[in-house]
Amino acid sequence: MLSKDQIAQRIAQELQNNWYVNLGIGIPTLVANHIPEGIDVEFQSENGILGMGPFPFEGEEDADLINAGKQTITALPGATYFDSATSFAMIRGKHVQLTVLGAMEVAQNGDIANWKIPGRMVKGMGGAMDLVASAENIIVAMMHTNKRGESKLLEKCSLPLTGVNCVTRIVTNMAVLEVKDNAFYLIERAPGVSVADIEAATAGTLVVDGDVPEMKL
């Protein structure tokens, strides 16, 4: 099984040169620590920065400079700040090439749910609905199962949706999957995880086509 940081590391392999990338809160944020050699990407945070850099050194935090997760950050050379309407113009207008975000549930038709558990928990959708409605590449970063051991890869989402037919790829602690033709296609296994393990942990339709390679990290 992969650690959260390893999930991020695997997702970082998907980055392509000259992409602008939006990283959601949680595991996605860790992707920035694993940019492959020779790949230039620029990170957008939807609260209003392009060119987001690493956390500041201790004592150099600036209350006016945070990311969408409200963490203190820094800006890299060439960065820009902008208002929220311009930020979502970038997102809605498809100027950002990749969105990585977490999820509570993903369905085999690409639906995603990550903002609300009726009656129990409401975080709000923040920018997630805008992101999933417009992004052309969406990678979901999440654990394969929830805290009760139940699969998060479902035939149909049970929770209120964040977006429909939008997720194209999922990287979990167990596997890399492609979402297409109303099914989860198994692309890679985490080291030491068997196809049978993944089948057991996947509630939706899982398609296993030939030998499934192990991830390389």
Binding site: S45, E46, N47, G48, I49, P54, F55, P56, F57, E58, G59, E60, E61, D62, A63, D64, L65, I66, N67, A68, G69, K70, Q71, T72, I73, A75, Y81, F82, D83, S84, A85, S87, F88, I91, R92, D111, W115, K116, G119, R120, M121, V122, K123, G124, M125, G126, G127, A128, M129, D130, A133, S134, P160, L161, T162, G163, V164, N165
Partner: protein, 234 residues
Amino acid sequence: MALNKLVADAKIALEGVQNDMTFMVGGFGLCGIPENSISEMVNRGITGLTCISNNAGVDDFGLGLLLQGKQIKKMISSYVGENDEFERQMLSGELEVDLIPQGSLAERCRAGGAGIPAFYTPAGYGTEVAEGKEVRVFDGKPHILEAALHADFAFVKAWKGDTAGNLIYKATAKNFNPLMAMAGKITVAEVEILVPAGELDPNQIHTPGVFVQRIFQGTDYQKRIERVTTRSKS
């Protein structure tokens, strides 16, 4: 001559606020929030408010202060996040909450200020957000119709401003502030640094003074950080 928007302090800047009004409040989390105007709202004890703001601060700061005092009847936001009191009041039904996608919220504020009554966006299609809203397909993709937002007062915070109401924001403290500044019937701007009209480079203004009715120099900024994240120098 540049028109003069200067008022002495938050107290004067908030003259005319009343119970049951609709306010826009700038900021993202605790970043770029109009601390002085929020304090003055708390002081005045006005109630029944509808607040349009991306978040509602944290339990004991920002709009969280107005929530604690039960001054807010309804929140229009995109994120509850880390505010437990917000979540509690919402789940218990004490507080009306209209949660909308962040990008739609930003654009709806801008639209309100720009005289655009409604626009189409793909965000939220197929979700609860789309309930009761018109759906229309453009270029093969379904979109929903979102309406402009307006407010009786908009409270914004800038880094620098001049007496003509021209505003410059700093870093990501900009966020919703310029959009809400456009959409308030009366827009009140508080700034850390106030200069006479003519001192700011007209090329660098983020919010032209035409959108601002009252400006004052804020005091005692706490500028709290929600999540201090750092790396070590070694």
